[in-house]
């Protein structure tokens, strides 16, 4: 006999009861009897017994066919022990439940793992095709807006002045010639434009739509034409792979994945923001590698020094001149992995020439020193 209280699932009232087993624990029947009146309140088949969630020192019992809220509640240790002994169905049900929950958990985890794996390995593969499907005018138009914002950021509120706006100026012609040589045999949906502009922040980068920026502060740090060419070729690599656009596609995907994992689809939480940042940083590293490969191949083909890019980054990393150069390093971190990669890529590449002739290089190197500057960025649109 087991004592407890009974809730019939119909009325919000509890009755003190005893439960009696007739027949065997395996397939007998439990009769629940009201202590006060002696009335039979319920007959529960032993095989149908289930244990409902409750705190450790309470046992809430029901059956699979009883009304939804019907419960036999045991709260004395000896009654619970007795129930565990006399109700083998409970142990079976517990194991079944555990197995079922573990299966559901494993199954849904495997599914999510599949999605994440598809994302991690698929993004490098699919961001390309997705970007390729998007009309190139989209990217050109987006590039125009980004250009305005970027130039204002670099130019300290006003638009960054170009170092030499005349497309036929010797320096611009030299750069354009180099770009043409690097792009030989490539088909691009839009022209590549290089803009050397006056800014105190040392940086070089490509934005959507094929524009490449190279700042005067970085030009001051650049010691020879191969270093300059290495950076430009690296950025052209980004343009050829359409990384700027891919980043946007990737970031959208990352937000979704992080939302899935953290359960916060708004992306507004600190956790979501941090997570997105970490994954995007990881993705951008892959893009850097692709651009390095492109730059190294261009150097090999044209016969100039492929390692000059690494030399420049190395020198800037060691130069402790402060925050001015940090922008370049944070967008192009020279990791040990990357340096080794660059060395491996440029192995057995004979250096047969320089990227620019001495005369050309001198005009480029000095192009920001002349007074001949302009505030209008759009003048560079006509170049290439």
């Amino acid at each position: 006999m087991i004592s407890g209280y009974f809730l019939d699932g119909e009325w919000a009232r509890s009755r003190d009861v005893t439960a009696h087993l007739t027949g065997s624990p395996e397939d007998g029947t439990w009769t629940i009897i009201d202590k006060a009146s002696g009335a039979h309140l319920a007959h529960w088949p032993a095989v149908e017994l289930v244990r409902k969630p409750a705190r450790r020192d309470v046992m809430r019992l029901s059956t699979t066919s009883a009304p939804l809220g019907a419960r036999l509640v045991l709260f004395e240790d000896e009654d619970i022990a007795e129930a565990l002994r006399l109700m083998p169905a409970l142990e079976r049900q517990k194991r079944r439940q555990r197995g079922k929950q573990a299966g559901l958990l494993a199954g849904s985890t495997a599914l999510l793992a599949g999605v994440v794996a598809a994302y991690v390995w698929g993004i490098p593969l699919s961001a390309g095709p997705i970007t390729a499907v998007m009309p190139s005018e989209w990217e050109t138009e987006l590039g125009r807006t980004v250009a305005t914002q970027i130039e204002q950021a670099l130019g300290d509120g006003e638009r960054m002045p170009a170092c030499n706006i005349a497309p036929q100026a010797a320096a611009n012609l030299a750069i354009a010639r180099f770009v043409d040589r690097v792009l030989e045999g490539q088909t691009l949906p839009f022209p590549v434009e290089v803009k050397v502009g006056r800014s105190e922040i040392a940086n070089a980068f490509a934005i959507p739509g094929g524009r490449i920026y190279y700042t005067s502060a970085l030009l001051d740090e650049t010691e020879n034409s191969d270093e300059f060419a290495g950076v430009i070729a690296h950025e052209i690599g980004h343009v050829v792979h359409r990384h700027a656009m891919q980043n946007i596609v990737t970031a959208a995907g990352t937000g979704l994945i992080i939302g899935f994992i953290l359960g916060d689809m708004t992306g507004l939480s600190v956790a979501g923001g941090l997570g997105t940042m970490i994954i995007d940083a990881h993705n951008s590293r892959q893009a850097e590698t692709e651009a390095d490969v492109f730059a190294a191949e261009a150097a090999k083909r044209l016969g100039y020094d492929p390692l000059a890019l690494a030399t420049l980054l190395q020198r800037i990393a060691e130069d402790d001149s402060g925050a001015a150069v940090l922008a370049l390093l944070s967008s192009h971190p020279l990791t040990v992995e990357r340096e080794q990669n660059l060395k491996r890529l440029s192995a057995d590449a004979p250096v047969t020439s320089t990227a620019f002739s001495d005369v050309e290089w001198q005009t480029v190197k000095t192009m920001c020193r002349s007074r001949n500057i302009s505030g209008g960025a759009d003048a560079s649109d006509s170049r290439r």
């Binding site: 699932g9 119909e10 919000a12 409902k52 809220g69 999510l112 359960g263 507004l268 040990v336």
Partner: protein, 428 residues
């Protein structure tokens, strides 16, 4: 008060208890029952820790199971007149609900992506539109989520229910928010009253509807009194700073004065907020009736402030431990470099940190550790704390009137709860 103390000892069989005191005091017709929370933090820590461990290998999917276990803990340890609450929801319901919410979010994502790419000039404005939209949906989701939880809560074998329309509620909440902002908070008591009345008036226990007798004047005094006090402190501080500047005080001490006064205003504001929210919660909870039975709740502001202090101190200790462990890990990595031939200088370490994958793994580990610790403390100190304070301060008057309640209703659909999860609407 004997009946109160008797029913708070949950081990005493509830029905026997009732008979006992009816026999002892046959004159007492109206019996008041105390609500008690008997959960301990240590076993709960066990649930949270094992849950956090499982979250990593399951890529976060375990959270649906963890939430369910947490609810079993909260519900199962909340004892009302001898019978504990029972949460009948399952993890899979939460999982499915979340997937449904994702389906709602996908179009927003795609639209946002399109705006970013095609109308970059508008992307700033797009977020300006999106934030109020999220606020609106949070009201909707919060209401649906409340329905999800109520319809999966049993007491004495009878489930709770929620009627009403989540869109109506979300609209009311949204418009009242606008009014509150426009009136610099003065409309807040009206908002609180309106939303409480809607929520409570649409809550059912079995076939019995809850009633709400709260009025704006129920909370007007504590709110406007505190509001006036905070406004006065703010005005005085501003005046002080202004005087100081006008007298031509030196800028350094003027800055110091601003810092100290801001601190003062922040502390007064915080205490005022705690005082007002606990008063509103206490008075409005106590305005709830269930037929002839009623709720009587007292939430102590001091207890809440103590919880918050504990939380801040523990968070500080945890952060310190985190930093020390972090430095030790870094130290270990430098030592590792020494062993493989590096000089072990900080420069080497900096280069090592630039090595792609190792940085990535260390960052992720730190990120997850930080997130886990934070969640753990919030749940353990704040969430359990509030539940405990609210439950232990609650009484149900004339509880025997509930004996005649009949079961009704079914479990609500899943989508709302998932949306609340997706929108980060914090609730138990």
């Amino acid at each position: 008060m004997t009946e109160d103390t008797a029913s708070s000892v949950w081990r005493v069989p509830p029905v026997a208890q009732r008979h006992m005191f009816v026999d002892d005091a046959p004159m007492a017709r109206v019996r008041t029952a105390r609500v008690n929370f008997v959960g301990k933090r240590r076993p709960f820590l066990g649930i949270l820790l094992s849950g956090l461990m499982l979250l990593v290998p399951t890529l976060g999917i375990y959270r649906f199971w963890l939430v369910t276990r947490k609810r079993h803990f909260y519900w199962g340890h909340t004892d009302i007149d001898g019978d504990a609450l029972e949460y009948t929801g399952t993890p899979v319901q939460l999982l499915v609900g979340f997937l449904m919410a994702v389906m709602i979010f996908l179009p927003i994502y795609i639209a946002l992506f399109y705006v970013t790419v095609r109308l970059p000039d508008l992307s700033g404005q797009a977020y300006l539109v999106l934030l109020p939209l999220f606020w609106f949906f949070m009201g909707y989701a919060g209401y649906r989520s409340r329905r999800f939880r109520l319809s999966r809560t049993l007491w004495r074998g009878v489930r709770f229910q929620q009627s009403g329309n989540a869109w109506v509620y979300a609209f009311k909440r949204f418009m009242w928010t606008l009014a509150t902002i426009a009136t610099l908070g003065l409309a807040y008591p009206f908002m609180a009253k309106s939303l409480w009345a809607y929520r409570v008036g649409n809550t059912w226990y079995g076939n019995r509807r809850f009633s709400f007798t709260g009025r704006v004047r129920t909370i007007a005094w504590p709110f406007y009194g505190t509001y006036g006090l905070v406004a006065a402190v703010l005005a005085l501080s501003a005046w002080q700073v202004f005087q100081f500047d006008a007298d031509g005080g030196d800028p350094d001490s003027s800055l110091a004065a601003i810092v100290w006064l801001s601190l003062l205003v922040a502390i007064v504001g915080y205490l005022a907020w705690i005082f007002v929210t606990t008063r509103i919660d206490s008075r409005f909870f106590s305005s709830i009736g269930i037929g002839d039975a009623g709720l009587n709740v007292r939430i102590s502001a001091v207890a809440i402030v103590l919880q918050h202090l504990t939380y801040v101190v523990l968070l500080g200790i945890a952060a310190a431990v985190f930093v020390v462990v972090g430095l030790m890990v870094l130290g270990g990595m430098t030592a590792g470099l020494e062993m493989i031939g590096g000089a072990g200088t900080s420069e080497d370490l900096a280069r090592f940190m630039h090595m792609g994958s190792s940085t990535f793994i260390v960052l992720i580990a730190f990120y997850l550790g930080f997130l886990g610790l934070w969640n753990l403390l919030s749940e353990l100190v704040l969430a359990v704390g509030y539940w405990k304070i609210a439950a232990r301060g609650a009484q149900i008057t004339n509880i025997d009137a509930l004996d005649t309640v009949r079961a009704a209703g079914t479990e609500s659909p899943l989508a709302g709860e998932g949306l609340a999860d997706a929108l980060n609407v914090g609730a138990y």
